[in-house]
Every structure is written in C-alpha cells, then in structure tokens.
C-alpha cells in the first residue's frame, strides 16, 4: 500500500515546514546562549547575536559563583520533585473520582474545584494560613499549596472519561474494586496525560519564585528563580543607579548576566520532556476493545 503522489508531496512539505519552524523557534535560545557568552564590554554594540560579541564566560562565572546559587538549586530541585510526585498523583486521584458520573455529590465537588480556578483569597490570607500552620521556611509551604490545580484536574478528568467503560466493567466482573481498577487499569492506560500533566506541574514548580517571597524568610530557602531574579536586580543596581555607589562589579553588564541565568536555570527542566516522549505512544488501546 504505497503513498499517493499527493501524500508524498504533503509529507515533504510537512518536513520542510517543521524544519523552518524549528529554526524560527530556536532563535530566542540561540540569542540567549550567544548573549550569555558575550564579553560584557562589547555587548553594548547590540546586534542579533548570531555569534557572541567578543567571548567571555564572565556572565556564567557571576551566576554560578553567586552565593546562593547552590541553595537555590537545592530548594527548587527538592520542591519540584516532591511537588510533581505529590501533585500528579493527587490530581489523578481527584480527577478520577469526579470523572465518575455515578459519584454522589460530583457536581458539588466539580464546582468546588472550578471555583478555586477563578477565585482566591489573596496573598495575605494565604500567608497567614501558612504561618498559622507553622510552615514558614519549610518545603511543605513551597509544595503543598500549589500541588493540585483546577485546570489540571479538569484536563485529566477529560482524559479519564475517554477510557472505555467496558474495560472497567470487565475488571469489576473479575472481582476488582475501584482502587484496583484505578491503579491497574486506568493509570497504565493514562501514561500520556500523566506525563503531560506531570510535565506541566514540574515546569510550574521549577519556575516558581513567588512562593519563597511569601513563605521563606530565610535566604537559604529561596527558590532558584528568586535567587536569579535577585542576582539580576542586584547587578542592575550596582551598575545603574548613581547615588547608590556600592559597586564592585565594574565590568559587568546586566544583559549577559540575565542571559546566563536563564540558560543555567532552564537547561535542567528542558531535559525532562524528551525523556517523557516515549509515553506519548499511539494506540495504547489496540486490541483491548472489541469492535
């Protein structure tokens, strides 16, 4: 069964299209990498950074030698791993439960979830709650409040609904209860959505900085992005503001430091998706449903 001429042409165009798209999409990262490797003195000339302006590792030095960079990485790494595990799991359990139409009170629960997507009490009450719970400066404060989100729940719910009832029925007839069905049938079939939501949650935790503003008074519990933001604004203070003359950094340019800090902080998280891709396997349901 060969491809028609039309299909062949389409295929070629498709590959071409995506090649071009890749080049276009990768440009900002290229720009950032080139910018981060540039010599701060020459960066002023501007340009499109198809290659670095001069060459210097000073920006990476400044970032990697920052006093809090290691603690930042540690805090974010731990809260990301913990948060993703807890968050993905609890999102799945909640979504599965409310995806079942037979569940009493389902509408109420779903509405409760929806409401949180749109309304929230604000910073001050959230802060006061964490304080009340003695969770200031802990990982729990960075992980738990954000672990499950309405959007993720609804999306997972929609995927769970797409799993044919017959599979669950069959298992039940063999004596399985809801828990067994969930863990042995539904979850294995949901790799794609679990990987997707897991990725979304992981990226959220990785990029979060605001939780440490609210809940960490100790600088050693600052998340990575908070450390980097602080590094950048400290650099620009040192350079830019006249009467404020504390500056040891005479040969530093806020631009190169910004670039380096983005690269340093994104690389770990960018490596996650390629590893997850194998879960996006087509046809997971082949053969399990008859006609």
């Amino acid at each position: 069964m060969g491809l028609t001429r039309g299909e062949k042409a389409f295929s070629v165009l498709n590959y071409l299209f995506f090649t071009v798209l890749m080049i276009v999409m990768i440009y900002p990262f290229w720009y950032m990498v080139m910018g981060s490797l540039s010599d701060p003195i020459y960066v002023a000339d501007g340009g499109f950074f198809l290659k670095p302006a001069g060459f210097s590792l000073s920006a990476y030095e400044a970032v990697l030698k920052n006093v809090s960079i290691l603690t930042g990485f540690r805090v974010t790494f731990i809260s990301t791993v913990g948060g993703t595990a807890i968050g993905t799991f609890l999102t799945a359990t909640t979504a599965y439960a409310i995806s079942k139409r037979r569940l009493r009170g389902r509408m109420v629960f779903a509405f409760l979830v929806l409401f949180t997507m749109l309304f929230n009490g604000g910073l001050v009450p959230s802060y006061l709650l964490i304080k009340e719970l003695n969770m200031i400066n802990t990982y729990w404060a960075l992980i738990l409040p954000a672990a499950i989100g309405a959007w993720n729940i609804f999306v997972m719910q929609s995927f769970f609904r797409g799993i044919p009832e017959e599979l669950e029925e069959a298992a039940k007839m063999d004596g399985a209860n809801d828990l067994t069905v969930f863990f042995r049938i539904v979850l294995p079939l949901s790799k794609a959505v679990l990987a997707t939501i897991g990725l979304f949650i992981a990226v959220w935790y990785w990029n979060d900085f605001f939780s440490s503003v609210l809940y960490s008074t100790d600088k050693e519990m600052w998340q990575l992005q908070m450390v980097l933001k602080d590094l950048i604004s400290n650099t620009s203070n040192a350079i830019a503001q006249a009467g404020i003359s504390i500056s040891y950094q005479s040969e530093v340019n806020e631009f190169t430091i910004k670039m380096a800090s983005i690269i340093v902080s994104s690389v770990p998280i960018l490596l996650v998706y390629p590893f997850l891709q194998k879960h996006f396997v087509k046809g997971a349901l082949i053969g399990s449903v008859k006609g």
Binding site: G6, E7, F17, F18, M22, M25, I26, Y31, F48, L90, T93, T94, Y96, A97, I98, K100, R101, R102, L103, R104, R106, M107, F109, A110, L112, T116, M117, L118, F119, N120, G121, G122, V124, P125, L128, L144, W151, I153, F154, S158, F159, R161, G162, E165, E166, D178, L179, A192, A195, T196, F255, K258, S266, I269, P274, K282, G283, L285, I286, V289
Partner: protein, 319 residues
C-alpha cells in the same frame, strides 16, 4: 447501553432520594471517595481556608486591623474602578486582546499537532517537538527584550529590511495600529509549541484501528484528520476551550507591561496595567482585589454559560 445506565444512575443520585439509596451509593463508591479525599483536603485547606480574603475587596483594608477590623466600604472600590475615566477603553482593550489570543491559542496548536502527528520519522518528530516549545521557557522579561530589539526604530531587523526596500522606518512599538498585533503575534509565537503538547497527548490516545477502517473506506490523510482524529479529540478540545475562558479578562499583564508605553495606552492599556499604576500611587490592596474579583466574576459567568450550552448539545462539559 452503558451510557444510559450511567445517566439513570446520575439522575437517581442527583434527586433527593431516600436515605437507603444514599448510603448504598456511598458504600458502593467508598473507594472513589477514598481517592478523592486527599486532594479535596488540600483544596479545602489551602484554597478555601484563605478564601475569606475576598472580602478585602469590599473593605478599606488595613493589615494591622485585619479583615475583622478594617472599615467596610461595600462596592466603593468597584464603583471607583467602573467610574474611572478610561474604564471603557481599558475594558475594551482587555477583551479584544484576550479574545484574539484565545482564538489563536487553541486553533493553531491543533493544526500544528495534526501536522506533527503526520511526521513518521520518529527522531525528527521528537526533536521537533522538543524544539518548538522552547519559546515557552523564555520569560517575558527576556522575550520582550528580544522583541524590542527586533522592532526598534533605529536598528531593528524589521526596519532594516524595510529600509532596504526603500520604506521608511516605523516605530512599531509606539504605533497604535501595530501594538495589539505585536502582543498577539508574540504570544502565539511563545506559546504555540507548548500548546501542542496536550493535543499530541490526546491524539496519541486515538485508537489506531479507526484509522485503518477509514483508510479501507478510501479516506486520504485530510479526510482521516477530519473524520477520525478531530472527532476523537473533540472532548479534550472542548474542555480546553471552556477552561481558557477563565482568562477572558486576562490579557497578559507581564507582557503588556514590558512592551507598552504612553504612546499606545489607547490600545494597550488593560485592566491589570491600569490597576497597577493606581496601586503604585496608593498601595491599595482593596482596589486591586476588587479588580481581580470583577475579572473572576465575569470569567465565572462565561464558563458556566458556555458549559451549559455544551451540555445541552449533548457533549460532556466540565461537570
């Protein structure tokens, strides 16, 4: 079939049935409730316990007097917002910008996902997927810098090209005619690759047999996409569209703030940027909370209505 059995059960459970049926259902579904419990607990604790903060929008909030001690002003904050001189303008800008973005943010990723799905070469496909979402990771702080450098009237790429062809140099960022398009197009660029992830996940779940069947019936690729893939992922699309309505008044504060200037206030000033400038002056929590509440309320109304429409047409809604 099963569907009708489920609906009957649903009808049963939603009506105020006799106590016996209630307990029976609870017992039957006990494991489902068990699964629900931890997540629900977290939600109740971390989302609902602080929910009283919403009343700040109706007060003149003083953090030292707390919520109980702060003066009650009713709808004053809202009234102030609605009566501000440019309220119509900022509302219009907010709605237009977010509508454009919403429309683009679900249509384009779907098309891209369908096309991506057609790439047979596994490595190429994986590499492509991993690359086209890269802009999502570039924060607006950085990305706005890149946009500014491309569009700037002195040596930006666009202007350089224009002057090659003899055109005049335009200040795009300062032009009311271009500004909204810049916002929307740059947002598309940044998010479209990321948006394909969820659709690809959905597409990967489509039963391969269905494609076979369609092929045997003589459908070509286009027909297959239209008659097999799209209908199969329609439930996911619908859910995503409804969910995206939550952002109906969320035009993208960070992006606008970084790119706008007084020259384009008339087309680019949105609710959030306006409230921000007032807030700089006043440090008024209540005003900002009221504005947020207004946005949430509108979004809520919209979501509930659209969800109802969707269910009336026979599809599954959010609940």
């Amino acid at each position: 079939m099963e569907a009708s059995r489920e609906t009957t059960a649903a009808v049963h459970s939603s009506s105020v049935a006799s106590g016996r049926t209630l307990w029976k259902d609870l017992a039957r579904d006990r494991y489902l409730y068990l699964l629900l419990l931890p997540g629900l607990f977290l939600i109740l604790l971390f989302r609902y316990a602080p929910m009283y903060g919403i009343v700040i929008a109706f007060q003149d909030f003083n953090i030292f007097k707390g919520v109980k001690g702060s003066e009650w002003v009713g709808f004053d904050q809202f009234s102030r917002l609605f009566h501000s001189p440019d309220f119509y303008e900022i509302l219009r800008n907010t709605v237009l910008i977010s509508l454009y973005k919403l429309a683009a943010s679900f249509s384009i990723p779907i098309i891209l996902s369908l096309l991506l799905n057609e790439l047979k070469h596994v490595l190429f496909k994986r590499v492509t997927q991993s690359i086209i979402y890269l802009p999502h990771f570039v924060s607006w702080v950085i990305f706005s810098g890149i946009i500014i450098s491309f569009l700037n009237p002195v040596d930006g790429l666009f202007n350089m090209i224009a002057s090659q062809f003899g055109g005049a140099k335009t200040d795009y960022l300062g032009s009311s005619a271009y500004f909204r398009s810049i916002l929307v197009l740059s947002d598309i660029y940044k998010e479209v690759g990321w948006g394909t992830i969820i659709y690809l996940a959905a597409i990967s779940g489509v039963n391969a047999d269905l494609y076979e069947a369609a092929r045997i019936d003589g459908a070509n690729k286009g027909r297959q996409m239209w008659h097999v893939t799209l209908p199969a992922i329609r439930p996911v699309i619908i859910i995503l569209v409804i969910l995206s309505l939550a952002n109906i008044l969320e035009a993208g504060f960070q992006q606008v703030f970084l790119l706008y200037s007084p020259l384009v206030y008339d087309v680019g000033d949105i609710i959030d940027t306006y409230v921000y400038r007032v807030g700089i002056q006043e440090a008024n929590y209540s005003y900002a909370t009221a504005a947020g509440l207004f946005k949430s309320f509108v979004a809520m109304v919209l979501i509930v209505s659209v969800n109802k429409l969707v269910k009336m047409s026979g599809q599954d809604g959010l609940w």
